[in-house]
Structure formats: structure tokens, C-alpha cells
Symmetry: C2
Subunit: 141 residues, 2 copies
DNA sequence: GCATTTGTATCAAGTAGGGTTACAGAAGGG
DNA sequence: CCCTTCTGTAACCCTACTTGATACAAATGC
């Protein structure tokens, strides 16, 4: 099923950034908390940067920090930034167009897929990074 | 992101079975509509069989048919049968327990994950196989 | 100028999935 | 009882994706 672990890594990293407000955090430091490689974190930060969720600085005293307040960032934005894609994919090869089912199944499934994805976004958007950060801090689940 | 195409294949196959009510369909025939290999279909049917969604017969005149009426099967059951897993996964390596964020992030994310997955199931359960079959037949999306 | 840190390119390794071939075993029909 | 037809499954190859690692140019602060 190969689900996406990048989203959880992203939330983890962003929660760290939320914690140390305006201080630049280095990819090395973030990597050691996430328990992965600094390059992996930088790749992730690159995506979050493109989505304007974080700001990064090169050079000495460089690092990354949030581009916005934690309560102005919700999980749906993060999900989208990471480009988690769809819940389920259509089959790589198009089905037989000679079959009455094959001919239309893709359109129907695509429609359902969009509805599900919208539902996911809606649910995720109820959580701000601030919410998540507080839940983590309080150990409250 | 490697999303799951098995779910769409499963719905496709089940829609075919719904169409030819009590007739046994052969994996070869199903495969040609889905545009894949017969073994891939049989693997899929094996999972659907375990979930008691289809019944298969070996031997001459064998094949598969639905175990229940199409309006008694909903997409959430199919999704579960295919074991699509979770929307997003936790990172393979546990985060650093020394970090205040790392220590609790998994619990929080796991909680959110379960909520999202429940939402997906809820939305999928609104569609029966009969609904999907009719949408496909009518070319109506 | 020098130390530090990001951004990226590149490569190796592991994993999952799809596709294919092969074959045992079940079932129907002479 | 034999032959044909199917499923169920194992084994294997190939492709794609992800993670992890090394390396280095470019940016930045002192």
C-alpha cells in the first residue's frame, strides 16, 4: 500500500519550527529529531518552501523557520504542499473501451476520488499547526 | 506517491460481476476488460473472496460471481477488503524520544490518521456497488 | 577570507507492484 | 476414468519510488 510518510515528517518538522518561533533551525538538528538524514529534511523543506509555509536561509546562521504563524497554517495546506496525491489511483493502463463497464468506469471512479479527496482536505483543514503543537506539548491525544 | 490502483481495479471487476448477475466470469475475461493479466485479477479476486464479497469456483465452467446483491455491497467494504491501508504513514524509524516533539508526535498523528480514515470509510460507504454500476451504465457522472 | 549551512545532483539499496510463466488441484463432461 | 477447463499460488523479472549517503557549488555572517 506504500502510504506516504512524508506528510508525518512534514508535520513533525513544522511542529519543531512552531516551537522555536523565530529562531532558524538547521536541517541537521531537525533530521536528528525526525531520525533521518539532513538531506531528506532539506528536500522536504524545499517543498514546504515552494508552498510558502517555511522560509529558509543559506549561509552561516542559516536554517529554516515558519513563514506564518502556526495558527495560520492548517494540515490541509501541508498535505497539499507535500503533494500526497490521491487516496487511490486509477489503473496505469486504461481499461478496454470495448467493454461497457471499462468505457465509463474511469470517469465514475475519478468523480468519487475527487469527492473523497475533498473530504480529506476538509477534515485536515480543521487542524492548525498550533493545534497539533499544543496536542503534542500537552501529551494529550 | 504510489497511490493504490488496486481499489479501482477491484471496483471495475466487481462492477463487471454485478452486470452479469449469476453467471461465472473467468479471470481471463475480466483481465481483458481491465487491461491487465489474468493472474493479477485472480490475486485481486482472492482478496475479495476472503472478504466474502465474491465466490469463486475452480474447474471447468468455473469463475467468479458476487457473493451478495450489488446493493448490499458498498465501496467502504471493498476499500477495506483491498487493505488500502492508511492515507499517510508514520515514518519508518521512530522519532527521537529525547525531543519533546518527537516523543509525542506519533500519538497525535496516529489519532488524526484514524479520524481521516474513518471519514474516508464514511464517504465510501454511501456508494453501493449498485450505485456505481448504474452510474457507469448510464454514462452519468 | 573562512566557517557554516542550504540547495541539488548523483548514486546505492531497499521495497512494492505489475506482469509473466508454470504448474498443482478442482470440477464438469464424455 | 480421462481430458479439458479453470482457479490458486509460487517463482521470477522488471520498473518505479523512497530513503539514505556523499559531494560540492553558492550564499551568508563574522
Amino acid at each position: 500500500m506504500a502510504a506516504n510518510s512524508q506528510f508525518s515528517m512534514a508535520v513533525h518538522v513544522l511542529a519543531m519550527l512552531a516551537r522555536s518561533k523565530d529562531e532558524n533551525l538547521k536541517s541537521d538538528y531537525l533530521a536528528s529529531s525526525v531520525n533521518t538524514n539532513a538531506v531528506v529534511v532539506r528536500r522536504l523543506l524545499g517543498q514546504l518552501n515552494q508552498a510558502k509555509l517555511v522560509v529558509s536561509q543559506t549561509g552561516a546562521n542559516g536554517g529554516s523557520r515558519l513563514a506564518r504563524c502556526p495558527n495560520e497554517i492548517n494540515l490541509a495546506e501541508i498535505y497539499k504542499a507535500i503533494n500526497c496525491g490521491e487516496v487511490f489511483a486509477l489503473h496505469a493502463k486504461a481499461p478496454s473501451q470495448d467493454c461497457p463497464i471499462g468505457k465509463n468506469i474511469e470517469a465514475v471512479l475519478g468523480c468519487i476520488q475527487r469527492e473523497i479527496d475533498k473530504g480529506i482536505s476538509e477534515k485536515l483543514s480543521r487542524y492548525t499547526l498550533q493545534n497539533v503543537f499544543e496536542m503534542v506539548e500537552q501529551g494529550k491525544v
